[in-house]
Amino acid sequence: MATSIASLPPSFSHVSQEEQDALKAAVFQRLHPRVYLERFLAENIRPDGRSPDGFRDVSVNVGSISTADGSALVRMGNTTVVCGVKAEIAEPELDRDNEGFMVPNLDLPAMCSPKFKPGPPSEEAQALSDRLNQVLIASNVVPLTSLCIHPGKAVWVLYVDATCINYDGNAFDATLISMIAALKNTRLPQAAYDPETNRTICSRNAPLVPLQLTPNTTPISISFGVFDSCVYRS
């Protein structure tokens, strides 16, 4: 299929040749996104210069949010996810009285991409939250018995909330990295349950205790897509 872009109008004559080419490429991408991608893939390269199995650089920054018990900021290319862990205290379930809770959630707010509208979590956010929950449970990265303060009376609840700030694809991988990094960064106060007053009091002076994570367990996810029967990693 032969496609061509008409030359730019005369009002652009003061723009340099490189900028004119960049503008034409951007217009072409808007008008024919599939052909734009195919032209790159025919040369076995992707529009941002990566090889088909190339990853974007990942940068992780932990512990920057002082109000959270643990936090991490992950940037994977332009995709940016912030994750914070807040710990609260609750009564355990009756049939699992020495297990705590871990509640992971991913929020894809309207600010991260024009395709999300403000309001309740979109389908994509719900699906990703559910999948993340399954990964964290199945990998047992935080054994729930380690969150027990007093069997049958008090356990820790870890709310692991991730917020996407900038959505440029592959939120799942970035979110999983951020949740694991935040959990590794989490430190909880020392809590003691008092059977006489039926209350759990945390010590302000005692040093904070890091979470007891299962050793040598760091779930990592790698996403890939299939385009016209070729495989490309996100």
Partner: protein, 259 residues
């Protein structure tokens, strides 16, 4: 207390959970309490502001503001088509504020509540006068502010207004001036600028002041608490001079941004 209404759209925890309660004994003598002089800075100093425009490439314009313990990200989408068929010859500005659950000392539920809306209203008031609405009829500009970490509501409103104004400039929306904002509190009859959460709670009244320094016009003043008129005027003067300094910081960051 986290009384989770069972939200079928999210992963849910236990029905009820409580933030940790700490014992009263503390040997942390360095933490500030009422009656002590201000820690680490003078009453008329504001905390240094780090401002980064253009962080969110998906949005038309964006800005990230960080001052000590307040971290706010702002993204602008638009002008885009207004929902609803009614014709309006001036553009609309829609501000939405969202707190992340881990932004406050006690976990916030992900639901939006009245505090989000009141901050959104204050930011809207602060920046609406600076935007040339007549340049985009029938359209809306959506401003989304996400508060990642907060140190008091006054700091949020002030930093949110600065972030929104910088993001508008980053998006190329036509504005008549940059809006900058500063907060102040009356602590022991003294004017303390940029109060932290603890300081604001101990104060008798707080004030958030937004203006356009380039045009020396005030866009929004939000005062809460009990202050005498003289104290209010003193706060206004102190905030105004600080806003000029903040304007310099914003202009500098816009110039430094890669085009």
């Amino acid at each position: 207390m986290n009384q989770a209404v069972f939200d079928r759209r999210r992963v849910n925890g236990p029905e009820e959970s409580f933030p940790p309660v700490f014992d009263e004994i503390t040997n942390d003598l360095t933490s500030w309490s009422i009656g002590m002089p201000r820690k680490a800075r003078s009453p008329s100093d504001i905390r240094p502001i780090f401002l980064q425009p253009g962080l969110i490439n998906q949005a038309s314009g964006s800005a990230y503001v960080e001052t000590d313990r307040t971290k706010i990200a702002c993204a602008i989408y638009g002008p885009r088509q207004s929902k609803g068929a009614a014709f309006h010859e001036k553009g609309r500005l829609n501000v939405e504020v969202k707190f992340t659950p881990y932004s406050c000392q006690n976990r916030r539920a992900p639901m939006r509540d009245a505090e989000d809306r009141s901050i959104a209203m204050a930011v809207h008031q602060a920046i609406i006068s600076s935007v040339r609405l007549e340049t985009f009829p029938k359209s809306t500009i959506d401003i989304f502010i996400t508060i990642i970490e907060t140190d008091g509501i006054e700091g949020c409103v002030a930093a949110g207004s600065v972030a929104a104004s910088t993001a508008l400039a980053d998006a190329g929306v036509e504005i008549i001036g940059l809006v900058t904002s500063c907060s102040a509190g009356i602590v022991q009859s003294e004017v303390w600028l940029d109060p932290s959460h603890k300081e604001a709670r101990s104060s008798t009244g707080t004030l958030v002041f937004s203006c356009m320094p380039a045009l020396t016009t005030v866009t929004n003043v939000w005062q809460t608490g009990r202050m005498s008129s003289a104290e209010v005027l003193a706060c206004l003067d102190a905030c105004q001079s600080r806003c000029n300094d903040i304007h310099g910081v914003v202009a500098q960051s816009m110039l430094a941004k890669e085009i």
